[in-house]
Amino acid sequence: MKQRWSDYALLAAGLLALWQGAYYAVGAEALTPPLETARRLAALIAADGFWDHARATGIAFLYASVLALAGGMVMGVAIGASKMAHEIFAPILGTLYSIPKIMLYPVILLVFGLGLSAKVVFGAIHGFFPVALFTMGAIRNLPPVMLRTGRVLHLSWPSLARHIYLPACLPEIVTGLRIGFSTTLLGTLIGELFASSEGLGFLLSRAMESHNVPDIMALTLLLFLIATGANTIILAVEHRLQAHSG
């Protein structure tokens, strides 16, 4: 599906209008209008210490992503590669995915204590499952004829993986990575919300506690922009890959 610039413009206009309308409806108690929010965000970014917080979140997010993406892909391949393994473990994976991970948070805090490790683990367990599920799906959906072709061509295992498995599965795996990326970000933020003294999530929780609506909105806007931006970029990569694989 081709996105045109006019579509993005329409969407932005629509959302802004909705936002402004909601502000008129519920008042400054709960919302800040777009322009004010943008100004507040600019002020926040310019303020002292902002970039330290941003960096803290960034580092936690990076570690969490590596764990989630690598771990998820390994699990996905392990379960997807064999029919038996898939039948046994796939439902378990599905159920684990449905658990409200937020309720595990106290457990994680108890095990890892306050600080970076807890944030990273929390973020990682959020992103792990989508990556694993999509990778698993990608491998299961591989048309058997591709494998047979590989055998006919007498390809060795590494060759098979690199020249057949990887290109064929890549689009679906990238989708999983994209969703895993988003959920890891969310998980890291939630982690910071609860028990950290630094990071964007911490700023958000501080704003929520003091009911500082402009700050809440400004930070949410920032996160929304980051998430949407990253999603759009990865989506473009996905489309390129899908165009090639037909």
Partner: protein, 251 residues
């Protein structure tokens, strides 16, 4: 029991036994985590003796059920509508894709202003979480409906409503199941997270209390309960899905 089902049970049992051994053996200290058997006992104790248990359990269950229903009953028609308007779909696409990256819980304050402190905010929160999953799944499911079905409907002279109910809905149902599972999962997460944060009533609130009061047995008992409930729900849905797939797609 089927063979994979048997091995699944073995795996879960092995994991639980391993955890039990680690806890009893002192590798995991009791302040961090209690043994699974103790979790089960704590849960039983709660069910039988805690005076708050049934009220809070029912509260949470009702909220979750309402959120799920709302997600499905709003999500499916909205998905149908968006699918029927390709321009709208293209415009909304970035929102649908990024929805789950945004910390939607920041809108809790907004919801409280509108709906007050009470089940309504929790239900709306749960529904807000689940509805987008349902919409995306509906879009994907309708995409998969073979185009020829639509032509059959037109040859038979069916109205748009009839086509939606008698052809699109049944045709999309197996694929819709994925969305159903996600909508259910997200509704549960939304409601319980809400109860956790807002701490007014329900199992989520009891969980927060237990954590703050360092009451490990109660905390783990509740976690176990929610785990079992989610697993059971998921199991039922997966079972239904497998049956449908088997009947429709035996080829």
């Amino acid at each position: 029991m089927t063979s994979p089902g048997f091995w699944r049970l073995v795996t879960v049992a092995a994991a639980v036994l391993a955890l039990e051994a680690l806890c009893r053996g002192g590798v995991i200290d009791p302040y961090t985590m209690i043994a699974p058997s103790q979790m089960a006992l704590a849960l039983l104790d709660m069910v039988r003796h805690a005076d708050w248990f049934w009220a809070d359990a029912r509260y949470t269950f009702q909220n979750v059920a309402a959120a799920i229903l709302l997600s499905i009953m709003l999500g499916f028609p909205i998905g149908l509508g968006i699918h029927a308007l390709p321009r709208l779909r293209r415009v909304l696409n970035p929102v649908l894709l990024s929805y789950y990256s945004v910390p939607t819980f920041v809108f809790y304050p907004l919801l409280i202003v509108i709906f007050g402190i009470g089940p309504a905010s929790l239900i709306v929160m749960g529904a807000m979480f689940g509805i987008v999953a349902m919409i995306c799944a509906t879009l994907a499911a309708i995409d998969r409906i073979p185009r020829v079905y639509n032509k059959v409907a037109r040859v038979a002279g069916m109205s748009a409503c009839e086509t939606a109910l008698r052809i699109q809905l049944p045709a999309a149902t197996p694929h819709l199941f994925t969305g159903l599972k996600l909508a259910v999962a997200y509704s549960v997460i939304g409601v319980i997270a809400g109860e956790f944060i807002l701490a007014t009533a329900g199992l989520g609130r009891q969980l927060t209390l237990a954590y703050n009061e360092f009451d490990s047995p109660k905390m783990y008992g509740l976690i176990l309960l929610i785990l079992i409930a989610v697993a059971a729900l998921n199991g039922v849905l997966q079972g239904l899905e497998a049956r449908l797939y088997r009947r429709w797609y035996r080829s």
